[in-house]
Symmetry: C2
Subunit: 209 residues, 2 copies
């Protein structure tokens, strides 16, 4: 029953484990490989975090530094390989991420929350602009996906790209719908009773004595 304990592994850490499951690499090579596979499109990548995360993974015993080599003349480098426990963590984490939705904090949500501070016409313009930008992005990514499929990649290995495109299409539709709702007045532009919230909270704060 100990395998129900879920370990928290960041996407970058997961990506490192995954690459090392293929063959041993040094951190810089991990970064280069992630970039060559466009993985940095989906996973935040920078050297500070990368080297730090590698250290943490080593401390956890999920990877070990196999050798420190000075080869071909290039700067010295440390090569890491995946351990058995590391491989377990990889599989466990992938399964858990797939199975359990988690709260994702989107910038766009924050924009929507405070949209009512803009004039309705301005808000509608901004959303229209967004819809167009989304459209352009969808076009670009769809072409990319087609090319990659044509060049022999399988759908399975490009599933995250397919997912991203689906997400963007959904967003484009929703954004257009809301923009339209604003321009033809179906989305009423007044604040509602947020102030009522405030009245309740007022019992703390300003009461005398």
């Amino acid at each position: 029953m100990t395998d129900t304990i879920s370990v928290d592994v960041s996407p970058l850490a997961l990506s490192i484990l995954e690459l090392l499951s293929e063959r041993p690499m040094h951190p810089y090579e991990l970064a280069a490989t992630m970039r060559s596979r466009h993985h940095d499109e989906f996973i935040r990548l920078n050297f500070g975090s990368l080297y730090h995360t590698v250290e943490v993974l080593e401390r956890n015993g999920w990877i070990v530094s196999a050798e420190r080599e000075k080869e071909g003349g290039r700067p010295e480098r440390t090569i890491y390989r995946l351990t058995d426990s590391g491989r377990k963590v990889l599989l466990l984490t992938v399964g858990e991420i797939l199975a359990e939705p988690r709260r994702e904090y989107l910038h766009f949500s924050a924009g929507l929350m405070f949209m009512h501070h803009l004039e309705p016409t301005v808000a509608a313009e901004k959303l229209e602009h967004r819809a167009q930008a989304l459209h352009a992005l969808i076009t670009k990514l769809s072409h990319l996906l087609d090319e990659l499929l044509a060049s022999g990649h399988t759908r399975l290995t490009l599933i995250e790209l397919e997912h991203k495109i689906a997400l963007l299409e959904g967003e484009r539709g929703w954004v257009r719908k809301i923009a339209k709702g604003i321009t033809d007045g179906k989305l009423e532009w007044r604040a509602g009773i947020d102030a009522g919230d405030e009245r309740l909270r007022r019992k703390h704060g300003k009461s005398a004595h």
Copy 2:
């Protein structure tokens, strides 16, 4: 033309500016208010970041500490208010977030990227599990939305909740579709030419001398 310069403001910072646009508050009250309005559902909130962010906003001149008061016997506290430049930043940032899509890094994408490490039956199970969890969440949030609308809130002030529900519904559909594709073999379960990538990269790395 100076107003085209876009300032980078975190969602938490934006939220602080927005609350202070209503009336002056002290940081703890900001947190309490965000929670009472369920804003922490969409914006990452913790005390460390909150107090730190308030400091940064003050340094930028977007808010000022109006008074340091010891009132009602409660612990001493510092009350902040929004400045004119702060109000400008608020409007500018909301507009920009709405208009410009930005890359969002989702945990789920990382799961999908490495899904092929699982057995197809296992992957399908995980996705089915996710779809059910999403369904439960959608039900819960839809009820919440209905209640809030019934209690007098406007659609406009709940638009981010409406958006979240739409997102979740889209995801549920997509996840179900993929899970089905796996179980009936339409999503072919082999790796493709990622190794080809590797062969190309091989020119660095292992070449002799």
